[in-house]
């Protein structure tokens, strides 16, 4: 069961995960990651842009790759776009598999891809000024772990 969403309205992980888990009967484990806007460094708001013709199709392709690579029963990828405030969820990835290893690795993999290799552009509002954000060196290093 593959569920990929690009959301302009608030993301509510609890409601997505509950129905996702129920849609994958017989699973052994579900791993879920939820990323939220951190309020540190005086971040007042965060805005995510996307490019319509690429962003959702590439998320769907990522879901396909994860299912094959980690032998998943199902995957959920939900990503916000638009304006968000500290404490609001930005992204939710959930993977269901027979065994925990596949579920955990799939979430790890998808998050690394979404962070540094998906068609999103992020900026933060600090002190009334917008700053574009690029992935940290660690993010690129995390992504490189999956190259083979």
């Amino acid at each position: 069961m593959q569920d990929v969403r690009l959301l302009a309205a608030p993301l509510v992980p609890g409601s997505l995960i509950g129905s996702f888990t129920n849609a994958n009967p017989g699973l052994g484990g579900v791993c879920t990651f939820v990323g939220e806007v951190r309020g540190e460094d005086n971040v007042e708001a965060l805005e995510l842009s996307h490019y319509e013709p690429l962003t959702l199709p590439s998320m769907e392709e990522l879901a396909d790759r994860a299912i094959v690579r980690f032998d998943l029963m199902g995957i959920l990828i939900a990503h916000r776009i638009g304006m968000m405030y500290p404490g609001e969820p930005i992204v939710c990835v959930s993977a269901a598999a027979k065994h925990r290893r596949g579920a955990i690795d799939a979430v790890d993999f998808c998050m690394d891809c979404l962070k540094s290799a998906a068609w999103f552009w992020k900026r933060e509002l600090r002190g009334g000024v917008w700053h574009w954000i690029e992935p940290r060196a660690e993010d690129y290093a995390d992504l490189a772990r999956w190259k083979k």
Partner: protein, 80 residues
């Protein structure tokens, strides 16, 4: 007879606009000329990608946009 150039993310700030229509056809040299010096400099960077008609170009310098195509200038991404 137009190609639509779309500026995405930080390139939108540099260009000062969201999109611009230029005459078709449009190749790499035409693109660099059309977008102004500052964006052209960014396009020279390897990390900046170009998509034409919804496909990211493996080699952006081979751009050949026809009438009706949308050309998107894609700076380094950051999601999650």
């Amino acid at each position: 007879m137009a190609v639509r150039i779309v500026f995405v993310g930080p390139l939108r700030d540099i260009a000062g606009e969201e999109a611009r229509e230029v005459a078709a056809p449009l190749n790499w040299a035409g693109l660099l000329e059309a977008v102004g010096a500052e964006v052209a400099q960014q396009l020279g960077e390897e990390r900046v990608n170009v998509a034409c008609a919804g496909e990211v170009l493996t080699d952006k310098t081979t751009l050949q946009a026809a009438d009706g195509d949308e050309v998107a200038l894609l700076p380094p991404v950051s999601g999650g």
